[in-house]
């Protein structure tokens, strides 16, 4: 029964690859190859979906689970209010775990639209497409778990509905000492694209100062000559 279940899950994940592919069909073939012997849990129903949940299979460089962590993450427009220029938000933007930790995430969606807690960059031999994914329908709660590898790394967490990451649903998951920090994590790191906004009257100020200094310098020079 269990074997049959995991076979079905493999099939579903493989099919997911097809669903997400249009012109770049070669990508689908690559994804098929990676799913030979994976152990994903998959839930797909009216509440939402959980993809690649893993509570017991250790990553290759882990010998034991180092710690058990549980995060409860709330999502919705309410959590963006304190971040200027953002519309969607998570209740938490930075997560920390020890290498080889088992992390359980409970994801509560307080909006009336879908949201996701999608983590990228996990080893593909264990997690199809290298991701752990929670997706909650309006007002629903979903949860799942994953085990992080032993390497120090910073993983991207986001909601991949168009513009949800850009407009606030972006977080970083730091394992051990972490890797390179991500840009534009709300309330943590700055945006890379700096707003081209200047303070009011900036150009006039620059102009006036330049004119005055030009006048002063030329008067001085003229004065010496005469």
């Amino acid at each position: 029964m269990r074997a049959q279940g995991s076979l079905r899950v493999c099939l579903l994940v493989a099919l997911l690859g097809i669903a997400n592919t249009s012109y770049a069909q070669h990508e689908a073939h690559e994804q098929h190859d990676q799913h030979g012997d994976s152990h994903q849990g998959m839930q797909f129903d009216s509440k939402g979906m959980v993809m690649n949940s893993n509570v017991d299979v250790l990553p290759q460089n882990c010998s034991a689970i180092s710690e058990d962590l549980a995060f409860t993450v709330r999502a919705g427009t309410d959590y963006a209010i304190k971040n200027a220029g953002r519309i969607f938000g998570f209740s938490q933007y930075e997560f920390r775990a020890k290498p080889c930790a088992r992390v359980t995430v409970t994801f509560i969606n307080e909006d009336q639209v879908r949201h996701q807690w999608m983590l990228h960059g996990l080893p593909r031999y264990l997690y199809a497409q290298g991701m752990f994914h929670l997706e909650a329908n309006a007002g629903e709660t979903v949860s799942g778990a994953f085990i992080v590898p032993a390497d120090d790394a910073t993983y991207l967490v986001h909601c991949d509905i168009t513009q949800h990451m850009e407009k606030g649903m972006k977080a970083q998951f730091i394992v051990g000492a972490g890797g390179e920090q991500l840009w534009s994590v709300p309330s943590v790191t700055a945006d890379f694209n700096i707003e081209k906004r200047m303070p009011y009257g900036a150009y006039m100020l620059i102009g006036i100062v330049a004119l005055i200094s030009a006048a002063l310098i030329s008067f001085r020079l003229l004065g010496k000559n005469s």
Binding site: A19, A24, A28, M51, V113, H164, D191, N193, E195
Partner: protein
């Protein structure tokens, strides 16, 4: 005395070095009478246009077999010859309802179980009449706080990615093809899906506003009550019926259409920008028939792979054709800043629709040459084809059918009496108008001039350009089977269409000849001009020399 000699010398030199092409024509004739015409000088070389390297196939291979006729979940899906075909699993789910297909089919379709729920058979005629559709809003080619490239990319033509907002069916997972790709998945595209319901269906349409700005849905030309049963507004017009749906919120619209026809749905918030940003789609009410097979959504419009019973009775094929125009100055605002407040500033006050005009023209979300991949009308002789045409753009559309005269059977969804149906080859559609055309491919000298590759396009000047460069715009074609290859690419007799797949062509980066003359000739001309300038300088200097003593002397 020396100054006078210098003056004479300078004058003579400047006369000699004066570029001959600046001589007055009369003088040139006179000189030629004495000296004969000057020797031939080679003009700048024109070059054969360098064919840019193709970065993508004109017609991508159908690796997943989506073009073939197939039966999925008991739904018989017609074959299509479009190079890029719709996902047949999504089509099956749209016919049966996402609640009535297997998880396997939903996974392949990319749809959620509640995307399109088909319920009870209210009139007992063998088909479901309770329809609940959930629409989300996707932003294509949007901005980012980090990237310099647009996000969730959707190219209307090679290298052309204007920002867009579109209604999309409720889907799951990533917005892009995969994590390493920036290309939007196939469900997220322009135009918003064509929606089909049956006359008398109880239709619920829930807008789940996944976008960061407020939106509504207004059903233009579809029979719907102004208020819902519970007294809430139902017309989608913020000025008249209800507040818009805020980001992260949802609202359900209810309708039970009594009349049939081709109609239009669009967002009615800030209509000067939201409709043209892409929140626009076709809404079709089909006649009630027993055991009706309705493809409730047609992704990207185009050929209807599973047609309704009523259409089956009268037509061999059916196509949804949605035309629109895009002003990139409006659409690209969302790429300029990531701050929604700034975007709103620009949409409200920064952009002035009254002093702007469109630069891109699309049919079913693509401009030529991409329109050839999806929107060719492929026919055998003696077919009767139904074309449902919507002009959702801000400018008029003069739709011309080369080689055919079509008949307008319905105007704005209303059937026209036979004696008042107009048959002609250019149909004018003002903004938001719909015309249902009967395209008859019988070779009788009027309805059709026989098999071939016959263009189908907007005959206004700009309509067939991409930002002013032709061929582009909303160009498509009526192609007979003998003139199309097995991949669905037309067998044309003219230019190699490959050059139009090069982004440089529409970026105005291609050169058809050397603009500069040859380098030796340029050098000679430059030296001569330099000499002329020096001689002029000599003249001026000597004049100053001569005049200076006079001025000083007077003092």
């Amino acid at each position: 005395m020396r100054a006078v000699i210098m003056l004479v010398l300078g004058t003579v030199l400047s006369a000699l070095l004066f570029p001959p092409q600046w001589y007055p024509p009369k003088l040139r004739f006179t000189l030629a009478e004495y000296f004969g015409p000057p020797a031939a000088v080679s003009t700048p070389n024109s070059t054969m246009m360098a064919m840019p390297e193709l970065t993508e196939p004109m017609c991508p291979e159908d690796l997943l077999g989506w073009r073939e006729a197939q039966i999925i979940e008991g739904v018989s899906i017609a074959a299509t010859l479009a190079c890029v075909a719709d996902n047949p699993y999504a089509i099956a789910a749209f016919v049966k309802g996402t609640n009535n297909v297997s998880t396997d089919t939903l996974m392949r379709a990319g749809l959620t179980p509640d995307a399109l729920v088909k319920g009870a058979d209210l009139d007992g005629d063998g088909d479901p009449d309770e329809i609940h559709i959930r629409l989300e809003i996707a932003e294509l080619n949007g901005g980012s706080p980090d990237s310099q490239e647009p996000t969730a990319q959707y190219a209307i033509a090679p290298g052309i990615t204007p920002g867009m907002w579109v209604f999309v069916p409720k889907s799951f997972g990533m917005a892009t093809e995969n994590f390493d790709s920036v290309i939007a998945k196939e469900l997220l595209r322009s135009p918003s899906p064509a929606i089909r319901v049956e006359q008398g269906d109880r239709v619920f349409i829930t807008l789940e506003n996944t976008h960061y700005l407020p939106h509504t849905i207004h059903f233009h030309g579809v029979d719907h009550p102004f208020l819902r049963a519970d007294g809430e507004g139902n017309d989608g017009v913020p000025m008249a019926s209800e507040l818009p749906v805020e980001a992260g919120q949802a609202r359900t619209y209810e309708l039970t259409p009594r009349s049939t026809g081709t109609a239009f749905y669009h967002c009615h918030v800030q209509p000067q920008s939201h409709i043209l940003m892409g929140l626009q789609g076709m809404f079709i009410v089909e006649e009630n028939r027993p055991n009706n097979t309705l493809q409730s959504m047609n992704i990207g419009a185009g050929q209807v792979r599973v047609v309704s019973q009523a259409s089956r009775e009268e037509y061999d094929q059916e196509y949804d054709l949605q035309y629109t125009d895009i002003d990139s100055a409006l659409n690209n605002i969302i790429q300029e800043t990531n701050d929604p407040a700034r975007i709103q500033d620009w949409l409200h006050g920064g952009y002035n629709l009254a002093s702007s005009h469109s630069d891109y023209y699309t049919v079913n979300g693509r401009s030529f040459p991409y329109s050839y991949r999806e929107s060719l009308i492929v026919t055998e002789p003696n077919e009767r084809i139904r074309l449902r045409v919507l002009n959702a753009g801000g400018e008029g559309l003069a739709l011309h059918t080369h080689g055919h005269k079509a008949t307008a059977t319905h105007l704005d969804g209303v059937a026209q009496a036979e004696q008042s149906q107009v048959t002609r080859d250019v149909f004018w559609l003002a903004s938001a108008q719909r015309i249902d055309l009967l395209l008859n491919t019988s070779n009788d000298g009027t309805h059709s001039y026989g098999p071939g590759v016959w263009m189908l396009h907007d005959h206004t000047g700009r309509g067939t350009t991409n930002n002013g460069i032709a061929p582009g715009g909303n160009m498509s074609a009526i192609v007979y089977r003998d003139f199309i290859d097995e991949n669905g690419w037309p067998i044309t007799r003219g230019e190699d269409l490959g050059m139009f797949f090069a982004p440089e062509f529409y970026r105005r980066d291609l050169r058809f000849g050397e603009l500069e003359p040859s380098s030796a000739w340029s050098l000679f001309l430059l030296l001569r001009l330099l000499g002329f300038a020096l001689a002029l300088g000599l003249v001026l200097a000597s004049i100053v020399q001569i005049l200076m003593p006079l001025v000083r002397g007077r003092r």
